[in-house]
């Protein structure tokens, strides 16, 4: 009997064809669904793929027309990629893992309109930033809430008034104690009786008896003199205390003015504060990119927090891959090397794109940092102009606590068609921009610094511009160069922002007169607020201070009484 059958070869071919067919069609479908489902959840809005097909040798996957929608604007796509081509690791794919040695990306378009609105998805691994900039800064700069301002300032008036009142009470209590030790009316009357009796006895005395009576009178006078001295000393103390209290009271009252000045210094009606207003007007168009940078920084650093949990219970027919060597487990999606090339299109600009990215993965791999280096070139508009250049460099590595991100963006001579200021009322057009941005992020902290310089722009104004924006338009026209620096430091939910512009001082100089009246009103309002806080204590102190003068009069009257006993 023959062991082999010839028909087996034909059968093998048929079965191979069947397996090939199944893989070629089903694997493509599976990958397409995976990208669309997982991608949409990570992105927060629809991620779609036109087609996905395995190559003839089942070793290459071709994805056409990948579109990633913008979760903030469902009518636009963040990114569209014409073609993605990569070699597939088939054994990993059979374990539902997507490991790619090399990915080729061609023809990238950014921020393109969608034919059909995208669907929003709940994001999973990270929460997007809900901090709105620069609207928050601009609103803060424009509105003045005296109560809110006073909460930010260390107002000392109420405490100082309270302290003064307490000290006054203590002084009065000390005086009362000292006053108790002074001779009262009864004592004075007794001494007076004794004095008159001694005087009468002296008048009636004759011969040597006069000496004895005079001695007795002297003793009474000495006794009265000692009491008088006590009263005089007490009077001196009162005089000094009253003088000191009145001087301090003057200082305490002046604190209200100082507090008002302090409050005024932090609101945006001083040259220092005004710069936030100018810079925030200029920075309104940057808000989208700042938000995007913050969101993406958080999304990227969240990759470092994903813990690769050892599979405790296997799904049917998969088993468990035991990590024998202790090497870090590989992520379910891992693109080792990505090559980018071809056309590049964003906001009506067309250019060329080139670069590479390494280790793009569903989670960070220890010792294999995610890096990317992308260069963009836009052709010169005319023979005299220079070609615009752009570069994006990014490094994301696994750190002991989460992930550490370092990114830099550099654009030079970049054409910007439109820069909206003041909610569209004022526009800059045909701009050349120089942009330098850097982001440093970890699990706890995100630091973003953006330097933008706009030149060669034209200023377009609408007819119904506010006075401030009209002045701002003039400042822009006169300056010819607009520089903006944005520094953000985000720790948890707290965002510390610093924005400034070369136009800040120019703008303030132009509008300070218009704002002076507003500043005066705000000052009066703040002064009233502080006054209201101290008014109760102030009244009580004033009454008690006038009472002190009465006490001094009382002591003086008592002193004059004792003068009679000389």
């Amino acid at each position: 009997m023959k062991i082999f059958r010839l028909s087996g070869i034909a059968l093998l071919l048929v079965v191979s064809l069947l397996v090939w067919g199944l893989l070629a069609f089903l694997a493509g479908d599976w990958i397409e669904r995976g990208i669309e489902q997982e991608g949409s959840q990570i992105n927060g809005a629809t991620v779609s793929v036109a087609s996905s097909r395995l190559g003839w040798w089942l070793d290459e996957l071709n994805i056409e027309s990948l579109a990633i929608a913008n979760p903030s604007d469902l009518n636009r796509n963040r990114i569209e990629v014409g073609q993605l081509k990569f070699a597939v690791d088939l054994p990993a794919l059979l374990k539902q893992q997507m490991h790619v040695k090399e990915l080729i990306v061609a023809d990238v378009k950014l921020n393109q309109p969608r034919p059909v609105p995208a669907q929003a998805f709940a994001k999973g691994a990270y929460s997007p930033s809900n901090w709105q900039w620069p609207k928050a800064v601009a609103a803060e700069a424009k509105a003045i809430d005296p109560s809110a301002v006073l909460q930010q300032v260390d107002i000392r008036s109420p405490q100082m008034f309270e302290q003064f009142s307490n000290d006054l009470t203590a002084t009065q209590q000390r005086w009362e104690a000292q006053q108790a030790a002074l001779p009262d009316q009864e004592k004075f009357d007794a001494l007076k009786t004794k004095f008159q009796a001694a005087q009468d006895a002296l008048k009636k005395a004759k011969g040597l008896e006069k000496v004895a009576r005079a001695k007795a009178l002297k003793e009474v006078v000495d006794e009265a003199d000692q009491e008088r001295k006590k009263i005089a000393e007490f009077r001196q103390v009162i005089k000094q205390d009253i003088s000191a209290l009145q001087s301090r009271w003057k200082t305490v009252k002046q604190q209200v003015d100082k507090d008002t000045q302090l409050a005024m210094s932090i609101i945006n009606l001083t040259p220092e504060g005004m710069k936030h207003l100018a810079a925030s007007f200029l920075g309104e168009d940057v808000a989208h990119w700042v938000g995007l940078a913050l969101d993406n920084s958080e999304m990227l650093t969240a990759l470092g927090n994903k813990k690769s949990v050892e599979q405790a219970k296997p799904t049917p027919r998969t088993g468990i891959d035991v990590n024998l060597t202790g090497a870090p487990p590989l992520p379910s999606v891992w693109i080792k090397n990505t090559l980018l090339s071809g056309d590049f299109q964003v906001a009506g600009l067309r250019g060329q794109l080139s670069g590479e990215a390494k280790n793009i993965a569903s989670e960070l791999i220890a010792g294999q940092p995610l890096t990317s280096n992308i260069k963009l070139t836009l052709p010169a508009a005319d023979a005299n102009a220079k070609a615009a250049q752009g570069s994006l460099a990014l490094t994301l590595k696994k750190a002991q606590s989460g992930a550490a991100l370092q990114g830099n963006v550099d654009l030079s001579g970049w054409p910007v068609a439109n820069w909206s200021i003041g909610q569209g009322g004022l526009n800059l057009t045909d701009i050349r921009a120089q942009v330098q941005a850097s982001v440093t992020a970890s699990e706890a902290n995100t630091k973003l610094v953006i330097d933008i310089q706009l030149t060669d722009f034209k200023v377009e104004k609408s007819n119904n511009l506010s006075k401030a924006m009209t002045v701002f338009a003039t400042v822009l026209e006169e300056s010819g160069v607009a520089k903006l620096t944005v520094e953000l430091n985000k720790k948890g939910a707290e965002v510390d922002s610093k924005i400034s512009s070369n136009l800040d001082k120019l703008f303030f100089a132009k509008i300070k007169d218009q704002f002076q009246a507003k500043a005066d009103n705000a000052k009066a309002e703040i002064r009233n607020k502080i006054d209201a806080q101290v008014s109760g204590v102030r009244e009580s102190i004033t009454q008690r201070l006038s009472g002190l003068a009465n006490l001094e009069q009382e002591v003086l009257a008592k002193l004059e009484q004792f003068e009679q006993l000389k």
Partner: protein
């Protein structure tokens, strides 16, 4: 169910050698037991196609054993996990799983390892049992079963006639 029974009877009554059916049963067991990502599974398939193995029996028993494999999945996983975590064998498994053959056979996977070991262990015994059962059936049971009414019905059915004529 009837179709399955008919197929089984057809296989048992066929003129194929008991060895071809025996190999089909044992290889079907191995094929069903191994997971998709083990190269061994696909080598078994190639072997079945190239060697004179009864294909009908292989397909039938693959389906039957696939259910068994699914049921015994947890046991196989536990066995594979026990083997792979034996301290004495740690260095051996590292060396094996890092080799190209070990990698292709996915020997660091609990299911792939346990299934492969079990397959190697039962391949020949299952073949031997299969051959013996066919001999025993054909000499002792076949004549009695052919008298069953259900078999007569199946044999008289048009589908069976066509099937028989195609195989003739």
């Amino acid at each position: 169910m009837l179709t399955m029974l008919a197929k089984l009877l057809k296989i048992l009554n066929s003129e194929d050698s008991p060895a071809a059916v025996g190999w089909a049963i044992s290889l079907a067991f191995v094929f069903a037991l191994l997971p998709l990502f083990s190269l061994a599974k696909w080598l078994v398939l190639v072997a079945v196609l190239l060697l004179r193995v009864n294909l009908s029996a292989f397909l039938l028993f693959s389906a039957v054993f696939a259910v068994l494999a699914w049921l015994f999945d947890p046991l196989l996983n536990d066995f594979g996990m026990w083997l792979l975590t034996l301290p004495a064998l740690k260095d051996f498994w590292i060396a094996v799983s890092q080799s190209s053959v070990g990698g292709a056979l996915a020997l660091n996977n609990t299911l792939a390892l346990a299934a492969l070991l079990l397959s190697v262990l039962v391949l020949l015994p299952l073949y031997w049992i299969g051959v013996k059962l066919i001999y025993w059936y054909r000499s002792h049971i076949k004549s009695r079963i052919e008298k069953w009414r259900v078999v007569a019905v199946i044999k008289s059915s048009k589908i069976y006639q066509i099937y028989h004529s195609l195989n003739a």
